[in-house]
Amino acid sequence: MLFNSLHFVIFLPVVVGLFFALPHRWRTHFLLIASYYFYMCWKPEYVVLIALSTVIDYTVGIRMGMTTEQAVRKKWLTLSLIANFGLLFAFKYFNFFNENVRVVLAHFNVFYDSPTFHLLLPVGISFYTFQTVSYSIDVYRGNQEPEHNFRMFALYVSFFPQLVAGPIERSTRLLPQFYEKQSFDAQRAASGLRRILWGMFQKVVVADRLSIYVDSVYNNQVHHGGLTLIVATLFFVFQVYCDFAGYTNIAIGSARIMGYSLMENFRQPFFAKSIAEFWQRWHISLLAWFRDYLYIPLGGNRVPRWRWYLNTMIVFVLCGLWHGAAWTYVITLSLHGFFIVFGNITGPIRKRAVGLLGIEKVPLLHNIGRTSLTFSLFAFSLIFFALSQFPTQFPSSASSSLSITVSSSASLRR
């Protein structure tokens, strides 16, 4: 079910109405049913994956809570990681991995007839996988008590506003909210409706309106000149932003009407003055996940400088892979990692240059320059992202090697 569909326009008021009409003790039962219905509207059989992930992590949490022995807890955590990432790998990365192995082996004249799974990528699998994994890690670290109520845990995994495209919530934030007794608050509902309205504006007025132009240009790349392609690329930047931020606003607004608070995922990203700052404003929940569960365990920035650069690149390469099983995503996000590292290396030189030119005496100009440069770098990196969305028509071999994808992403969009 899409947020921008008539189905959802009927679904949400019905769910909200019944939610407040029911006694408190039945509300989470009802929300769980509504959430599963929401997901099953897309492809009913894939709900099994969410249920499987839920059962695994619920069991893992309980088992970890039953022992204080670190080695045993680690085994349960390992089981959770293998099961969750195993499912993600099978459904999202298997064909990509196989295709790459085939290409590499072909270079050595070894011909490998790789099997291909013809599976449709389960909607939101990366989002709910990361959410369940974060719960297991938090329980392992002792940051979260194991959840004994299966219904509450299942709702945490499948809560419909944020099930298919985030924000990737933490159990420490969302689970306690399900225990709170929510009563209808007109002001809060109005605030939620405002968020939904703004999200709808971003999606159907900005993103989908821009996509008409972007699609027409990118689907006929060879027939368009440089200026048209530049305009289409700029439009694509705003399309991606409004598409995702619009979804997030509708998700936050829908949850807010029922009294639940979801984390913010965007904070005016195009006003960032560096790529590092940009990632504190764009898809905040994803980068926070990578920061807490990968970057900091790797040592963060409290390591020798070369190792910090390596940590940054690891995070962004994996962040690229999270986005999709295609090298284009890896290149897009790796570029961001590179920009951050390069920015750090050249920081002192740039600071000296700014001092020599006296630019810092005009802070407004300096800030406009930094913001424009950050936006330009992001727009440039998104060209590779666009290659995943549109069938390439470039006659070079580069485009074919870049477009090893699980399936045509463009077909998923419509």
């Binding site: 007025v205 598409d243 195009f270 006003f271 986005h323 992403s409 969009r413």
Partner: protein, 63 residues
């Protein structure tokens, strides 16, 4: 294309207000009910008149 460009301008205006004048939104909420509802009605009208309802999937669904 013109609608798209205008939509971007509207979006950036709102984002700029949030970035540089964070007190603007609470001030708007204190406006007279007629002003507020006229604004909401304007956004609804924009959505209905220039919004695209072709059932386009959200890009991030594929992730």
């Amino acid at each position: 294309m013109i609608y798209g460009a205008l939509a971007i301008m509207a979006l950036m205006l709102v984002d700029a207000m949030r970035e540089f004048f964070p007190e603007a939104m609470p001030r708007f909420k204190r406006q007279h009910v007629v002003v507020r509802f006229a604004s909401y009605a304007a956004i609804v009208m924009l959505i209905v008149t220039i919004g695209v309802f072709d059932g386009a999937q959200f890009i991030y669904f594929q992730f």
